[in-house]
Symmetry: C2
Subunit: 626 residues, 2 copies
Amino acid sequence: MADRYGYNGKILRVDLSRRAISVEEPSEDFYRRYMGGRGFISYFLLRELSGGEDALGPKNKLIFALGPVTGVPVAGSGRNSVGGKSPLTNGYGDAEVGGYWGAELKHAGYDAIIVEGKSEKPVYLWIEDGKVEIKDASHLWGKTTGECQKLIQAELGDKGVRVALIGLAGENQVRYACIINDASNAAGRTGMGAVMGSKNLKAIAVRGHQKVALSDAAVVSSFARQLRNDIKTHPIARNLAQNGTAGHVMGLNSGGGLPTRNFQQGVFDGAEKIATDAINNSILTKRKGCYACSINCKPEVTTGEPYNVDPIYGGPQYETLAALGSNCGIDDLEAVAKGNELCNAYSLDTISTGVAISFAMECFERGILTERDTGGLKLNFGNAQAMLQLVEMIAKKEGLGKVLAEGVARAAKVFGKEAEEFSMHIKGQELPLHDPRLKPGMGVGYTISTTGVDHCHNMHDTLYTQKVWGPLKALGVLEPLPLHDLSPAKVRMLVYYSQWQHMVNCLVFCYFLSSYLSFTPSQMADMIRGVTGWDTNVWELMKVGDRCVTMTRAFNIREGFGKDDDYLPHRFFTPLTSGPLKGVSIDKNELRQAIDTYYAMVGWDKNGVPTLAKLQELDIEWVAGV
Amino acid sequence: MADRYGYNGKILRVDLSRRAISVEEPSEDFYRRYMGGRGFISYFLLRELSGGEDALGPKNKLIFALGPVTGVPVAGSGRNSVGGKSPLTNGYGDAEVGGYWGAELKHAGYDAIIVEGKSEKPVYLWIEDGKVEIKDASHLWGKTTGECQKLIQAELGDKGVRVALIGLAGENQVRYACIINDASNAAGRTGMGAVMGSKNLKAIAVRGHQKVALSDAAVVSSFARQLRNDIKTHPIARNLAQNGTAGHVMGLNSGGGLPTRNFQQGVFDGAEKIATDAINNSILTKRKGCYACSINCKPEVTTGEPYNVDPIYGGPQYETLAALGSNCGIDDLEAVAKGNELCNAYSLDTISTGVAISFAMECFERGILTERDTGGLKLNFGNAQAMLQLVEMIAKKEGLGKVLAEGVARAAKVFGKEAEEFSMHIKGQELPLHDPRLKPGMGVGYTISTTGVDHCHNMHDTLYTQKVWGPLKALGVLEPLPLHDLSPAKVRMLVYYSQWQHMVNCLVFCYFLSSYLSFTPSQMADMIRGVTGWDTNVWELMKVGDRCVTMTRAFNIREGFGKDDDYLPHRFFTPLTSGPLKGVSIDKNELRQAIDTYYAMVGWDKNGVPTLAKLQELDIEWVAGV
């Protein structure tokens, strides 16, 4: 019998300033209370930072975290989280990423890595079955993610080594630089690549051969079997297998909410050119997946001249197609694919990059920026060449790229007061490609999201369709509500779903699988029980989610965030002027009312600060003292 | 395939003023939100009363309610709830009772009965497989419960008829009259027998032959099997089978918390004489059980002269042994058994009756009452004859009995200011026989209990032992806390357990089985899923409990209750002067702090009023409008 199931019981700490490596073994209660992923990250950031640190300074920490199911042969379990204080928002930051790296780290013997300090020279970490080495990376600095990964695999003599790493954008501390796994999977949001760069850490290479000990292997494999069956037969899984997330392009376009030209419109006349059929019939070479998952929802693409897109970098998915495509007014699919390749090669978040470029385009079209500012670039919407050039300039921090590399919030301050209206961000992070005017319930979630703004823990179809989907029925949402309803009943849906989804973030489990397939929340709890041996249940899991929401909120409160930071960009209060949503906008007062209701429902005071009683109820009273 | 599983989908409404019978068929969502028992009762009372009604007037309602599992062949499922506005507290009232009547009503086709109005003449209800008749009960008025039950069974020509009924105390509207099922099972607390009497309703006789439709019979029978196995092997089940609840007498006495002489002491020198071994070796004839349960924890006793206790009325269990025994300073087991028989025959709650008598005894010993007041009775502690005579006088409302029949709160007002200190009640209901100085966590629950004061939904061993028991570990209580701790962590335990136990009240499931045996909360959820077909889980169940706590609280708020009504009798703030708990008392400020923390944790404002957001979060915003 293993000591502990699911987890390794070991957290690796690497102090790059002192080149010190240590291992901590938290109690089982720690694992049960915080579970993993975002739960671990917020725990350590609350405990070990004290507020006000420079996100790009050596006092920030970069934490890679897994969950109990990571590396267990169940679809959805190949992911990892990575977090720290965000250089984009100066608040809580983390991102999640699929692929194989997370599973590999679990198999190598750790549940999380806390990286602290700053290396004098570029280094990378090499972790193999428990052994840890800090290795020189001077020769890797400046390399693209794809090149660097190959060099590391060659140097270590093992093509099975999995590498999480940064490219030029991370090295240059572009505030929305991401971390790339397997060259094509991005831990995209909140600028964790910049934090990694600030520490002179180029990569973490991992190899592990240990299986995860399971408390009840039969329960786990029965769950895995159900998932495999769903993957073969469930319409949403089939759609993902066929189209990845690219199906959203036409779906949102026909609903009138496809972000177009910096969120000015919700319908894009070139939508079909960057949508599923176009991709499947032209640039797609194959689809790739993640550890233990047979959906294979991730595209791999290639093109000939002039772009010669390298398939190692995968291909554009929905957010990228909209960010670099419709939202920049661009319908040149091959250019968008090139943009995607550049972002992955340089480790740039495609969402922030695209929204930064569309922001610059709108400023250019409105005369706020001129060719003098752009270095001669004609930054009109639809100019694919300009878009690609800007991606390069951002990664290299050249010219206008240097300003945009700071994110749209900071750039707007440089461009002048009138630019601010066009900077589509919340708390400093650029918006994902979902228009709150189409999904007002998600819009409320946008304002409250502790990672700036996020579309993964606040958005579920139940919030804006006439059907109660996925986990929500089992969470007590018995009836659907109208799309544009922002009543307390809608807020309740958001609260419940957001707690559930934060638990999924702590589990570090795939968002698609957790939200839309046929298994129920109870079956998820059973599976976690099968892995860990805990007699857990949906209630305890929801408390894990609630705890996590609250901890990340507490982090932001410590950093000085308050209720005034919970807002939507002004644009969404003005009606769309065309398409199916013509005339539709968010009502500012209704939104404020919904936000206040959210606070009250989750036990935060009128200023959005978690009450002491709430912390106590969640068994995290210690948070009040940090 | 049945239309609906678990439930009949039918609620019977009987207006005794108009002699009108009707049947309502609520939606499935109604059942899923409120589940049954206390959930149904509080729903209908909130909807159909408007506050300020006379609890003994025709506008009050008397609601008998079942749960989804009632009548399913699973141990613990033979129970029913009965509630209305309490004539004792003028707040929310209900009581639960075991036996067979609940299962019989389910098999007869109903999930609940709402009795309204007032019959001109004594009547009883006769329900047989869906058919309902209002029958004359003039010839039954004045009969003891045992006699009356036999007469009804004879009149209906079926010994299988189950009867819930009242005796003289109910007819006379003694404020703590109870309702008796099968002559020996009491729906004891909050005076529902008085409400029944006020409506001139003597009895409800039920016969049903319909099986409960199950969504997944295999899941249900697997749960039933596990329970049967537990009943055979689990130490707590074995103890119950051997001793009923009488084992608590010596347990609490050795802990120093056996209520003695009106809660003046916690150790009783005659404890052994009224404890398990004494019972088992003398008066016990056999043990009886409830529908589908083979524990058989209920004693049946008999005695020879002078008491000639009739075994039809069962025998004294812990609360009765302490209420009529140690708390009256009485160690004459046969007299206590006689007192129990009289209470059941007259339909008197043994807890309130015993505490009313011990109150009178203390007043007598302190000279507040004299023989002139008692009609010559020497009401000293330990006087078994006086105790028995007072039981008769209370049921018949004779002499001092007439004053005591109003409950100790009202009686103290008659006896004068100095008596108040010795009236052991909260919100007008007499205390159960558990001393908060031994179980401070439960003490906090006492103050907040919406049924006045209750020991079933607020008391769990985890609150005062060094072990995390039963459901609490699976609800996220990872560590035990010291007995006398009243910290927020202890309040958290209470909040969680109380929500769980309120859900059990809505399920109308046995308290012992739900709190201490080997099945987990998840298995309970599975069983409910097996019965109803709902994809439910522990989280949804906890919300049912939370909703129910909140609804009953809202009922009390409407009736004018506020934070000042949440208190403990003064006695508990003074230290015990002997025994293992010598010197121990409750700290008044700590208690107030704990109550305030409880409010904040469950989403009530500083005055203990559920916030609008809390109602909205629980999907019961309508409660704000009642």
